[in-house]
Amino acid sequence: MIEIQNVRKSFGSLEVLKGIDLTVAKGEVLTIIGGSGSGKSTLLTCINGLEPIDSGKILVDGTEVHAKSTDLNKLRQKIGIVFQQWNAFPHLTVLENVMLAPRKVLGMAKADAEAMAVKQLTHVGLADKLNVYPTRMSGGQQQRMAIARALAMSPDYMLFDEVTSALDPQLVGEVLDTLRMLASEGMTMICVTHEMKFAREVSDRVAFFHKGVMAEIAPPAELFGAPKDADLQKFLAATH
């Protein structure tokens, strides 16, 4: 379970998170929508401790992420994150990209890490790209590789930060299909996205962020069907 309690965070004089309270249960798929600068991506990087917070608390399975005593390297093993820019390691093949962390962080034997990597790459439809260098693949393929790389650590939670925003329109579908598959398998996921149709289909709940505040959170039918918040109504009208 991920518990976010009254989290505040500023960059300089700009407060990007103004007291967020949110709980994500195991197996839940939560999507976060909102305009740019609403704080939704920042929240994700706070959850795995890449960004410090100013006040409040984030607990992952009861472990306080920003406590001094928390071993972030250990905690991050159970929180996978995939970014808008897929960040493939260009000097490694697709297989090596996925094997690296299981080998160096989990200390898996080479054969085991390779079996895990092949399994995850097959899962995301890249079984025929094992020995290719990432720069030779399309953005959609690289993004799916990044998903496999995160999955290879057997995380309990997956965070997706606008993973389709940097892709050409015709490549968005393949990545969303991968996310749909993970959701159907019961992975606990938080997806920050601009894909409203996707949010409506896969989410258990959808949260709308506006200017650092979570303005509304509800099951998709309710949030999209009968939005209460005035800013959300404007936002939805503009995205349709």
Partner: protein, 221 residues
Amino acid sequence: MFNYNFRWNQALNSLPQMLEGALVTIEIALLSMLIGISVAILLTVFRLSGSRILNAVATTWVEIARNTPALFQIYMVHFGLGGFGIHLSPYLSLLIGIAFNNAGYLAENFRGALKAIPETQTRAARSLGMSAGKAFRHVVMPQMLRISFLPMTNQMVWAILMTSLGAVVAMNTDLYGVTSELNARTFRTFELFAIAAVIFYLITKAITLSARLLAARLFRY
């Protein structure tokens, strides 16, 4: 106006000795590069560490290595340290002097290379649970070395040429030293140094060519 009698045969008879000297030159250059690269990586880590003291050590090293003559650096290792009772052989003085110079130049190259690697690479590595050290070693450093490969080749060539500065510490087993001693005995100055120059040229050409082949093999991405 010009009554020098070339005696190439006499000079060419010394070729085996000169080639032995060339091996010593290559050996010193190679070792100085291995030491130089290792120290440069260490200096780079110092600079990234966030520690002021370590950063100052690295910056001082780089500044001295790059802004004083290599000849002074070698001279200092031999005679400067000698003043403190540390007496090193000409071979070691030359090796350490060149390695010191290499490390300074390479550390600066590495710094430039690091700027070309997006911060998000480290972020991605850290988010997979890697410590800062592991992220540097497995994700950043290999890319840094790849970007610096050509500058490293240049430094290797420079290291070969720098061995001739061993003259100031009476080094007499490398290519320059051997040639110089033969010259003192035979006075075939032009012939001996022309042959030595050709050997130097061939060595450096061989280095640039093999570096190009190695790069094609190593960096397939």
